[in-house]
């Protein structure tokens, strides 16, 4: 049995967490009295709650998890090695497939890292369109999460709403980039193409639909008593534990850390041109994580609306040589992707392709907390916690 050496679990201050631990301890005492025989429960790799092929091995004592460990690697594709034999423009095709629900967002930090090393900056219009497409992929990604969340907790209806409304966003992405899931639209120095005619008006209509979808989900799911009782107080992550495991995105903000890479870093995207609210929640439980994602989807539609009003005119491509050689150096760029902080540490040797690329994906860190978090929870709560942490297998295994 592995016990993680974490010095922080001793100083938990959260009352909710303490009451949950107390009830767990009471049950554990009962288990000792009744002498329950331990058993090992294997969830996955083919389980609907695993978003792919994650396998969870849980050792149980009665209804409680004594020890749990996810087993990854069923989808490891070795992208870090593959980037070393590709040229810089070819890498975007690979990184599209890391988080396949919000593909465009994966391309942006890599392209920004390459641009940083080259000293190239995309023209303003390209930066704005990048930001809009970035937020659209966030909406496509997280709206599916909101629907899927219901399915995992036993409510079937939300997923149909999610698939219906995500389709509008995917159509928009397709009409602008040519690809529904893997746009491969970002280029070093700008974008492949300009927006098609009529796209802006169409997007505004869709954003309205998506806001209605958010309202629908909020009343249908988040107002539901069963949903609340299954998520409130379940899987509480205190602030310092979240930081220590490197959780990011909604998982971090649900633990009360007010940190959003869209707002808090100087990056060549158009986020500093618009006002938007960064949502945080003090509770750190499953409900908070899901609630933050809902608010962020609605906020993203508002960001898109504001950006659409101010797109500057001009070219979408800076002048870059046809054969791209990136000067020698090292660069780190990360952005606030739908799943959390996604970053690339790019080492270049002045060659056609990168020397080494470290892909820091959000889900890998987000899911690495599960051995700590699942200890002591009840079996049905495993599904709630995994659903609320929200991971994509391609983002863990890379």
């Amino acid at each position: 049995m592995t016990i993680l050496n974490d010095p922080v679990s001793a100083k938990l201050g959260n009352r909710q967490q303490l009451s949950y631990i107390a009830s767990q301890a009471a049950d554990a005492r009962l288990n000792v009295e009744l002498e329950t025989e331990g058993m090992t429960l294997n969830i996955g790799p083919q389980h609907p709650a695993t978003h792919g092929t994650l396998r969870i091995i849980a050792r149980l004592d009665g209804e409680q998890v004594v020890w749990a460990e996810p087993s990854c690697g069923y989808m490891h594709r070795g992208y870090e090695k593959l980037t070393e034999v590709r040229t810089f423009p070819q890498v975007t095709t690979l990184v599209n497939r890391i988080d396949w629900l919000g593909s465009f967002a994966n391309e942006v930090p890599f392209i920004l890292a390459a641009e940083k090393l080259m000293g190239v900056e995309a023209p303003p219009r390209a930066q704005w369109i990048r930001t809009i497409l970035f937020e659209l992929s966030r909406i496509a990604n997280v709206s599916l999460f909101l629907g899927d969340l219901g399915v995992q907790l036993g409510a079937i209806t939300p997923v149909f709403l999610a698939f219906r409304d995500r389709e509008y966003v995917l159509n928009l992405i397709e009409s602008a980039t040519g690809g529904r899931f893997h746009p491969n639209f970002d280029r070093i120095g700008g974008l492949k193409d300009d927006l098609p005619a009529g796209w802006i008006d169409e997007t505004k209509v869709v954003m309205k639909k998506l806001r209605n979808f958010c309202d629908e989900i909020e009343t249908l799911l988040f107002g539901n008593e069963i949903f609340q009782s299954r998520t409130r107080g379940i899987g509480v992550i205190p602030r310092d534990v979240a930081l220590q495991y490197g959780l990011s995105g909604a998982n971090l903000r649900a633990s009360g850390v007010d940190w959003d890479l869209r707002r808090d870093q100087d990056i060549a995207l158009a986020y500093n041109k618009v006002d938007f609210k960064v949502w945080t929640h003090p509770d750190g439980d499953s409900f908070a994580r899901c609630w933050i994602r809902l608010q962020e989807t609605r906020e993203a539609t508002l960001i898109v609306d504001k950006l659409l009003d101010g797109i500057p005119s001009g070219p979408v491509m800076a002048k870059v040589p046809k054969i791209i050689k990136v000067p020698e150096g090292e660069a780190w760029v990360s952005t606030e992707n739908p799943l959390g902080e996604m970053g690339y540490y790019v080492v270049s040797r002045g060659d056609l392709g990168p020397f080494r690329v470290k892909i820091r994906s959000a889900s890998f860190n987000n899911i690495s907390i599960t051995p700590w978090l699942l200890r002591g929870v009840y079996v049905p709560d495993i599904i709630t916690i995994l659903a609320s942490l929200y991971f994509i297998l391609g983002d863990i295994d890379r």
């Binding site: 592995t2 016990i3 993680l4 050496n5 974490d6 010095p7 922080v8 990854c72 690697g73 490891h76 870090e80 090695k81 070393e84 034999v85 590709r86 040229t87 423009p89 070819q90 940083k116 080259m118 000293g119 190239v120 900056e121 280029r187 120095g189 492949k192 534990v241 930081l243 220590q244 495991y245 490197g246 850390v257 940190w259 870093q265 100087d266 491509m317 800076a318 002048k319 040589p321 046809k322 054969i323 791209i324 090292e330 780190w332 990360s334 902080e341 970053g343 540490y345 080492v347 040797r349 056609l352 392709g353 080494r356 470290k358 820091r360 860190n365 690495s368 907390i369 700590w372 295994d397």
Partner: protein
Amino acid sequence: MKPKGKGNQLSSPAETSAAPVVDATRDAMVVAIRGTLGAAVVDSMVKPGDDIWVRVSTESWRNSIQKLKDVHGFDYFCFLSAIDWLPSPFGRGEDDPSEPAPERDSTIRPGYTGGDTRMQLLVRIVNSETHLGINVKADVPNDSYTIESISNVFAGANWHEREAHEMFGIGFTGHPDLRNMYLPTDFEGFPMRKDFPLLARMVKPWPGIVDVEPLPGGDATEEESAS
């Protein structure tokens, strides 16, 4: 490809606009870190307006990270990984398998803040209040490939060290459980090391260079829409 002098000109608004030459915040941070860690800091580097790199000695690896967390408030663990500075003996996998491989330069040239060994460990930690990030590097000895684990400083480093262990063959003393993360338990070799061949490329070379050759009949206007 015809040599075109004009094509190599970079248009870079970043360079013409006033890029910060001095970065007071990051410079002050490096001075403060040198004050705390003392002789443990081997080298440091600041790119104004961009990032900080600090290289610490191998022996002080864990202690340095602990001090950076406790004293300077770098409490957010971003990632840990390794870099193999050996140039790949297989090039970019574009050799013709029927011909003998060409001679390649195999001198190890480290990156920012230097280095004396083939393998380097790299960790990025961030201050969650000021959002200032720092890249910390350390040499991994060439003979043992072993370094102290920081998984009891940052619990999140546990999985990252497991990944570095199986991919680069770096041992972490004090790590609770160095099982394979992705690879099968009986896998031999360390895939991310540069001298580990990418088998798919050994069988059939990738015609990657073909993709960037100019199209026949291309003219000067092509350069405008370069991809």
